[in-house]
């Protein structure tokens, strides 16, 4: 989103280096990359009504020629995200979390982006509403060919919505592979622990139970070695000394663990 400067490394969007974007590049980026925020309660200006909230990004980007066109687009967007037009002049506090999240989605869509960062878009919602929003996001992707980066801690949601998954731990890449593969064949001890920690709503599932000890340590001046070593049941001296490199352990399946081959019998 260009809201934080990167300390090192390269960031490319659509082939273009945008690590340190110029003003013009920044503006183009904001048109192409939009974000849906986690908390539909605090990410909307409480003093703006729904139609103004949805029109705001279009005004900022100058995507509409005049007011009439903008109003027409606001009405279209409200239909797209399933917000009844009678809410056009309501304020956020009058609406429930699900509807507020729909406003957030309409705002993100308003400038026709290519890429949307969804930061925990459903974690503040109740399950029945969560399912409505997830279906909406999937439909929009099918219709408009959008690319999503879906940030969440909920692995059941991730499994449902994503095509490939990157597991992170304390700022480091731990494992990355196609979605199906991750659930069928998790390689990293952290991923396996994470999968076993999720309660499954069925009384017929039996599975191995790996309880991870301890808690996530602070990312301020981390100790050398694997970031997960202090909680890992398989940690050895090497894990505490050197940060493991990200390797392609199986075709298309990346993992950062010193002992991954040995532990998975590869």
């Amino acid at each position: 989103m260009g809201l934080h400067e990167s300390t090192a490394g390269i960031l490319r969007f659509d082939g273009e280096d945008v690590t340190h974007p110029s003003r013009g590049q920044k503006k183009a980026m904001h048109k192409n990359i939009q974000m849906i925020f986690q908390d539909p309660y605090s990410s909307l200006d409480p003093r703006m009504c729904v139609s103004d909230l949805i029109a705001e990004p279009m005004k900022a980007m100058g995507v509409c020629r005049d007011k009439n066109e903008r109003e027409r687009r606001v009405a279209e967007l409200m239909d797209t995200v399933g917000l009844s037009r009678r809410f056009a002049f309501s304020y956020p506090h009058e609406l429930d979390g699900g509807r507020r999240q729909r406003i957030g989605i309409a705002r993100a869509l308003s400038v026709d982006p290519k890429f949307i960062v969804c930061d925990e878009p459903v974690s503040a919602l109740d399950v029945s509403i969560q399912a409505q929003i997830l279906n909406l996001l999937q439909d929009l992707q099918d219709e408009r060919g959008l690319t999503y980066m879906f940030i969440t801690h909920n692995l059941s949601v991730v499994k449902h919505i994503s095509h490939s998954i990157l597991v992170m731990y304390l700022g480091c890449e731990v494992e990355m592979c196609p979605s199906k593969e991750l659930f069928q064949r998790p390689l990293h001890p952290y991923t396996r622990g994470l999968l076993s920690a999720i309660p499954i709503p069925s009384i017929h599932v039996q599975r191995e139970e790996i309880i991870m000890k301890g808690e996530v340590t602070s990312p301020i001046n981390p100790r050398p070695g694997c970031r997960f070593a202090s909680r890992c049941p398989y940690a050895q001296d090497v894990c505490r000394e050197a940060l493991p490199a990200v390797e392609e352990v199986l075709p298309g399946h990346l993992c950062a663990c010193h002992r991954v081959r040995e532990l998975n019998g590869l």
């Binding site: 109740d126 969560q130 399912a131 997830l134 279906n135 309660p199 599932v205």
Partner: protein, 326 residues
């Protein structure tokens, strides 16, 4: 005999905008050493029910009718002093948010010792010893008894709250979304600890949650709440394998699953009704795919679908049939 028996409990918040019908005539029982899962979404009345059991419903809430029988005595008819002796001693509560449930200007050791001193006939020194034992039991080193809540992580704060709740060895534990504010890996640690302690002390528990996965792992019986009513009640098997209320079926259809492949979720359409203005008849009818004229007019009575499996729906038989087919 059940440890706790609730009959026709009705709780309203009498506000200026109208009466919020938070809990509408619910009944359930909790047996000795068993766990009842109270499941529902935001605003279903789960927390109000738990607060009602402790007679802690905040103003302008009023318990209008019903009875809460604990060990044969009706809590609603007890004197305030007797209820105070019960709270934290016989019946304790684990609160949802570990960040705000602790006193920030008191050391955690003092907060645990406080409840022991209040309820148990013991000296300060004995209370200190028991506090240390309790800390040790929840996996926190005794050297940290002099630390303040902000020095602990979320998972550790929740353990401290559990230590406070279990310090007097209560018979009944009310756990209100004990792990909702925690990460999954920490959630697994905390739930495992709660279940171990529960077994060790023979405590009964009412576990309030919206997570059906946690229910499957920790509960013996389940009550599904919607808009202040229990719409379905039964054993784990009744609810997970033979759900007969359209709301319960809808809940299962709404959650993405790790164990089953689904292309598309089947959400419940519409929104939770406003508890000031509940729909007539069955409160779920505006969102229900099975709703008929009958549902709009008459509130369905409890119907014993199979022994011990209660459901509140006019069309339960049809729902059960279709659920088995799919």
């Amino acid at each position: 005999m059940s440890l706790l028996e609730i009959k026709d409990l009705t709780i309203r918040y009498l506000t200026e905008d109208g009466d919020v019908k938070a809990v509408n005539g619910i009944s359930f029982e909790v047996e000795q050493g068993k766990t009842l899962g109270l499941v529902g979404e935001t605003g279903a009345g789960k927390t109000t029910t738990a607060l009602g059991i402790l007679r802690l419903v905040p103003e302008p809430g009023k318990i209008l009718s019903g009875s809460i029988t604990y060990k044969g005595q009706d809590i609603l008819r007890m004197s305030e002093k007797d209820v105070q002796d019960l709270r934290g001693n016989e019946i304790s509560m684990i609160f949802q948010d570990p960040m705000t449930a602790l006193n920030p200007v008191m050391t955690v050791g003092d907060q645990i010792a406080e409840v022991i001193l209040r309820h148990q006939d013991c000296t300060r020194v004995e209370a200190q010893t028991r506090m240390m034992a309790m800390l040790d039991r929840v996996g926190i080193s005794g050297d940290r008894a002099g630390d303040y809540p902000h020095q602990f992580s979320g998972g550790m704060k929740q353990r401290i709250i559990i230590a406070i709740a279990l310090a007097c060895n209560p018979k009944l534990l009310l756990a209100d979304e004990p792990t909702t504010a925690l990460d999954v890996t920490i959630q697994a640690q905390v739930m495992r600890m709660v279940n171990e302690l529960k077994r060790e002390f023979g405590t009964s528990m009412v576990l309030i949650t919206h997570d059906l996965g946690i229910v499957a792992e920790s509960c013996d019986a389940v009550a599904i709440m919607y808009a202040g009513s229990i719409v379905e009640y039964g054993s784990l098997e009744d609810i997970f394998d033979h759900a007969t209320h359209p709301y319960t079926v809808g809940l299962f259809g709404s959650i993405p699953r790790l164990d089953i492949e689904t292309d598309r979720l089947k959400p419940i359409s519409g929104l939770m009704p406003d508890p000031i203005n509940l729909p007539t008849g069955c409160a779920f009818h505006p969102r229900c795919p099975y709703a008929t004229e009958e549902c709009r007019l008459d509130e369905p009575p409890y119907w014993e679908f199979t022994p011990g499996h209660l459901v509140r729906c006019h069309h339960a038989e049809l729902v059960a049939e279709e659920a088995t087919v799919s």
